[in-house]
Symmetry: C2
Subunit: 424 residues, 2 copies
């Protein structure tokens, strides 16, 4: 039943993937006839297994950390604690508590009596390529099972022992609930040839989701022969409109920039209306500066707050992922929208204003997966949206935009119910 | 305002497309703020313009036909009559009558008070590559305008004069309604370099839809650097289950196979349960044979109805598009589903049965864009679904499956409405 990794094969990764994809396709067909209760039981059993095997998982993680020689931020991503285990368990519970994503989205009856149902259906076989964060594989598995998809995971080399331990917990949960083990399979080694095999898996993998750094995502987009759902950068903007409540705007911006500077929903650029910049910008930036933020400003911003480096155009294209903020003074809403559509990454952008007309204009014209009114851009997250977990934030323009949860792993298809109709 | 086709440029097609895509992007931003009424006005104005310019359009079509030297079926596809003009006009009216595809799909409020709205939003800039059917460009333009997208059309060489005449009608309609003319642009010549330019238009075209023969579709899928929504073959099955009403099944199958044999929703393979084959298959096939259908059957089918050519395995992979039917006797539902998932093209498959449990099983496990119960597979069509028009039937597994209407030219994105929330 398990796909065989045969080192004597000409291309062991491709041979394994071909077999794994066959098993996955059969699992999808079985999952198609499961009830929501059975899929939820599997998620709860996975949660129990993660909890029961927590010592194994943490020991495996310690082995990965012992072998790891990378920089501190990467070590942080790789590190699991008891706290992380608890978060994984509660994330599985949250996904189990969600309504069934496999539902009738719409239905109507035609004049000839044909009843047409639009049904959210599983995509099929998903491929997830991830790097050092070990929870990504578990989140992907949970969302795939919830939505009736099978998934093939290829984790990063740094997290190989941790990923394998988590996969054992997933497999135990599936087995306990009587779901096919091939619903969640993991590449047996983190050999890079698996990435190449997955990129080439036309007809075997229906959707490939890369989760990791820019070089991984770009390689997948450039080379994949299968459809890809990816998030590019998170170059998010917060725009303080002339009708903003400045106290609120200051508090929201501090959170949007500094709560966690490394997340993709962190604000990288502040835009502020020229009408209010004189009166408000110095105070807003002082608040940020007091918390350790530094600035790259355009000429008009620097005139109002001299303690900043002159911004180059390149700075407005840069996702800092650090306590650095690009600042530009703009002449109103149209200019702000143009700036965002030009320099943004289509991820998340916010307007802070008390003017609802301005807000509507902003939300209609800003071309991003998530637009936010009067709140922090850091809310752009599957958990914060109520999705239980997420496999990234999609910034493409087809299939789905924004946080990818269980519903986003479905595609509408149709059931047509007749009583003998023929077409004239 | 109009993109310039400069024959002195190094690559005139790429230069034109870059400029056209810029204009299209600006048009999308303008369309984002139009009301449904304005978009519908444009569709009705386009309908009036097609009607008013009908003489021009038919004269242009006569010029195309005079220059055409291809085979009869292709000439048929190219030919426009007054009847076709009427159909185009009523199709535009039907699209105008549809509800707004740009709507709030769902909304909910989080415990922190954030309100999240999931909004169906335009994809952006569509590219449509089509061949000889001149109505394809008009249908695509209508659906794009309805859904707030801009579209760049590249029609086939055979229909160049007809397509240009239709484009003049579209442009007149847009102008009359005050919508940007760049919402619908057409490659100024049918030079093949435009196809290459569109395939390479990363960041310029958001979704490419090829409408035409297999070699076009396969080339687009193989070479495109932009997302593609395509339909592969229409290798559709009708499965007569043991609990079928045989009189109804016969009538439905005759329609599914013979109403029009060239459409992608035509049935190509009949599967029938072994339990009822002895009693029913000869009568069913006799009815088809009397109407000119011939058969390629497996051993068991031939034993019951000798007037057929022995089927090779290749026959079950073949989309006949003719009065030819592949026939196989199967041992029940599971075998039928396995046959369809193996040999089918994921387009449209029907079960004929009075047994609702069997129907549910079939519809859950058959992996096709459209599954049909007790009706002709030829109903798999945007018009028959009530979409007013369609740009093909998608047989991929992401974004949308089945007929592509205005709703399928949108992607959900999010508006988040706060009152100063910050993330803890």
């Amino acid at each position: 039943m398990e796909a065989i990794y045969d080192l004597d094969a000409e291309n062991p990764a491709t041979a394994w993937l071909t077999e794994a994809a066959d098993h996955a396709r059969a699992a999808v067909r079985r999952l198609a006839r499961t009830t929501l209760a059975a899929r939820n039981d599997a998620l709860l059993a996975m949660a129990r297994a993660v909890f029961d095997k927590r010592t194994d998982i943490l020991e495996a993680n310690a082995r990965d950390l012992a072998a790891f020689s990378g920089a501190a931020p990467f070590r942080d991503r790789l590190t699991l604690t008891r706290q992380h285990i608890d978060t994984m368990v509660s994330s599985l519970h949250a996904v189990a508590a969600l309504p069934d994503p496999l539902r009738v989205l719409d239905s109507w009856t035609r004049p000839n009596g044909l009843r047409i149902e639009r049904i959210a259906s599983p995509i099929g076989v998903l491929g997830i390529i991830f790097e050092s964060r070990p929870n990504v594989g578990l989140d992907a598995a949970a969302l795939a099972v919830k939505s009736g998809n099978a998934v093939i995971l290829r984790g990063g080399r740094e997290a190989r022992a941790t990923s394998a331990a988590l996969h054992r917990a997933i497999a135990a949960g599936l087995a306990e609930a009587g779901l096919p083990p091939a619903a969640v399979q993991m590449a047996p080694t983190p050999d890079r040839t698996f990435v190449a095999a997955m990129l080439a898996a036309e007809g075997q993998i229906d959707l490939l989701i890369p989760r990791g750094g820019r070089s991984l995502v770009e390689r997948v987009r450039r080379e994949a022969r299968v459809p890809v759902l990816s998030h590019a950068d998170g170059l998010c903007h917060t725009y303080i409109h002339r009708a903003a409540d400045i106290a609120m705007a200051t508090e929201v911006l501090v959170n949007a920039k500094l709560r966690r500077t490394s997340v993709c929903g962190a604000t990288e650029t502040l835009l502020i209306d020229s009408e209010i910049a004189n009166a408000s910008l110095p105070g807003i930036l002082r608040d940020l500066a007091d918390r350790g933020c530094v600035f790259r400003g355009d000429v008009r911003a620097r005139a109002l707050f001299p303690e900043m480096v002159p911004a180059t155009e390149m700075d407005f294209w840069t996702e800092w992922q650090d306590a650095i903020l690009s600042v530009a003074v703009v002449d109103g809403l149209e200019a702000a929208v143009s700036h965002i559509n030009r320099y943004g990454s289509g991820h998340t952008d916010a307007i802070l204003t008390e003017d609802e007309t301005a807000e509507r204009h902003f939300m209609a014209e800003v071309d991003s997966a998530v637009t936010i009114w009067n709140a922090s851009t850091q809310f752009s997250d599957g958990g914060e949206f109520g999705f239980g977990a997420e496999i990234g934030i999609a910034t493409g323009r087809v299939h789905a935009r924004g946080p990818i949860g269980a519903e986003q792993l479905t595609t509408p298809r149709y059931n047509v119910i007749g009583s003998g109709q023929v077409r004239p």
